[in-house]
Symmetry: C2
Subunit: 393 residues, 2 copies
């Protein structure tokens, strides 16, 4: 294969891409090829439109009245828009705070539901904030944190385990964890699970209902395109919603926040996972960006994502494997998420050089370049462009 062949192939694949028209919803600057949607999704036209209305009409003109007219309903409303993306039923997802804080809520809830257990099991390669938060939850509850590689999670679960937590898509390798196996193993020992869907939601199918997951959390600013620092989400299984509690019990989680009662009574349902005032601008931007998903099936999204990453790996084999790059992502498309990682000595400098030339990716120490292949806006031709630049470094 030479690059002419690659371009021809990319053209064919892009021509038969049923999601190709969605690229038009994103305002990506001319001259930019963007491979960092796994870190920060780009601006959508719809987010800009909604933000303008939020600033000019809801804030400037309606002022405090917008709380009753719109904003108070945001967390539940946006949660319900997000729910189908992770297979959740209505009124089981809410949108608030950031992922770290929601991991804390979920783990504290889980531990409180399993008061006689003594251990938390976590993937040792989990995103660090999950590990830091889990360590704190373990310390606060006199539990032991058992941190093991993903392939040893199942054997580490026992009748001592209160909760098992892991991120579905490894943030470095894009390795997909065995969500079904781990969840089943946890439940078979009477433990609960908390899945972090930061690199899943919006790019990789996940069905919290079919998997009978207890808690899930995730991030609004990656493949969901909510904008920088968009709020996170939290899912709680409906069978737990009546009994679960979480310690960040602020007024937004009260049954009647505007009665200003002096005693806390948890709201019915998922609202009890709210704490304080929502950051409206970021919430509205996320809500707008989520509209793109309304006509998209997760099956189509997954097929496009796999087509992009498979094409990338084919070009890696043809053009990069013998030039000092190593593949850091599983070859089996069923075992990987939506980014491709390449090991490369000097990857940090290369990512910076490429950005100056309009191709944006990111870097994770010590030597991993990450390329998010976002099925909503990346094309196969984007990948040819990227691999050409990598091959020419």
């Amino acid at each position: 294969m030479n690059f002419t062949d690659a371009e021809q192939l990319a053209s064919q694949l892009d021509a038969s891409d049923t999601l190709a028209s969605l690229r038009g919803q994103f305002d990506i600057p001319d001259g930019i090829v963007y491979f960092d949607g796994n870190s920060l999704g780009p601006l959508t036209y719809r987010s800009r439109e909604v933000l303008t209305r939020t600033i000019e009409f809801e804030w400037r003109e309606r002022l405090i009245r917008s709380w009753n007219e719109d904003w108070l309903a945001m967390p539940a409303r946006i949660g319900n828009v997000l729910a189908p993306i992770i297979g959740a039923s209505p009124n089981t997802v809410t949108v608030c705070d950031n992922t770290s804080i929601n991991v804390h809520k979920a783990l504290m809830s889980a531990v409180a539901l399993r008061p006689d257990r003594t251990e938390i099991v976590i993937d040792i390669n989990n995103f660090p904030t999950d590990i830091y938060i889990a360590q704190s939850v373990a310390d606060q509850n006199n539990l032991t944190l058992i941190a093991v590689p993903a392939d040893r999670i199942i054997e580490s679960i026992s009748e001592r385990t209160a909760v098992v937590t892991a991120t579905h898509v490894d943030y470095r390798s894009a390795q997909l964890l065995d969500a079904e196996g781990i969840t089943l193993a946890a439940h078979s020992h009477g433990a609960l699970v908390v899945w972090d869907l930061a690199h899943t939601a919006g790019a990789v199918p996940f069905d919290v209902t079919a998997l009978d997951v207890d808690f899930a959390v995730g991030c609004g600013y990656k493949y969901l395109n909510g904008g920088p620092g968009a709020p996170a989400f939290i899912y709680v299984a409906p069978r737990l919603l009546d009994t679960a509690s979480q310690p960040l019990q602020g007024w937004w989680g009260h049954e009647f926040p505007f009665e200003f009662e002096t005693s806390f009574r948890p709201a019915v349902g998922i609202d009890r996972y709210l704490t304080g005032t929502a950051n409206v601008l970021s919430m509205k931007s996320l809500e707008a960006a989520l509209e793109i998903f309304s006509g998209v099936s997760m099956v189509e999204l997954r097929a496009k994502s796999q087509s992009l990453t498979t094409f990338f790996i084919d070009l890696f084999d043809a053009f990069l494997a013998e030039k000092g790059f190593s593949l850091g992502t599983p070859r089996d498309p069923e075992s990987r998420g939506s980014h491709v990682a390449l090991g490369f000595a000097g990857g940090k400098a290369l990512v910076e050089t490429m950005a100056e030339q309009g191709v944006i990716a990111d870097f994770r120490p010590p030597d991993l370049m990450r390329f998010g292949c976002a099925p909503l806006y990346n094309s196969h031709m984007d990948i040819v462009h990227l691999v050409k630049m990598l091959a020419a470094r």
Copy 2:
């Protein structure tokens, strides 16, 4: 006094108002008289300008690069802009999350610093979220929550007290609590204090350094005008910064977040109070709005605020006292914050009717109308307009 007298007086007071020109920084719609800055500050021209740049340049164009170019530095940078407003020294304030979450962090920190104590003392009339959070912190640590009226706080502090917490300005009455007396009493018994400055910051002077306060928190969207759901702030006394810890230890509070270490090491200084990714849009909007304070002395601000509330109470006496309204705010200007509360049966409906006529206030059950007198943009003539409408109801 009749309304012609009142208008003449208002004109004179407004003519000699050295802060009057600051009203021009706010884009308040024509026909609106706004008395709810104690709940949601209005849009500033500068916030709009910065939000536009954040959306169009930093997000759309620079994309992920903006984290290094600007956003990672936001919490510390904005904390330092906010610090002088509460008398804090540099690098002791950071901006993040919401007030409820920061109350949790501060109380958990305080309790951990006083492991042998058994009680938390709180103002029973504190804003409910503070009470809910304090109750949860007490429950988690097997402490007793002692909730008493403000005038019984000092006598309730003992060698059993781990921490005392209260809001400086009562959210209903605008009563100023005795911050100096309560802080001294706490310290004399070896207890710590957490002051909530939600209705203080930006309208009422408070000097965390002179008062030797341990922790303070507050809100970005009231008198600081950061926009709906703007992030909150947290102050920690420099003498505590090396030893204090908080349980929401996410990656943003790590010494080296981008080293992705598997063990948590708290950042040096106030950064350890961060948890996860900041909501950029709301942070930038707050940062822009804070610019207004750079040329304003807290002494001037307080004088204007007291002039507004005193004038309001004078007009209350002249026009409202005999029409079913009762004054819910202290008459002594040294004992009140920056809003005036009026009791009125049917206040909820009246607030709604007035909003339709362009005068915006808010309501707290069971019968309290609240009127925020924001020294940055309210005028004495605004108050005449308001009182006329109230008198004519």
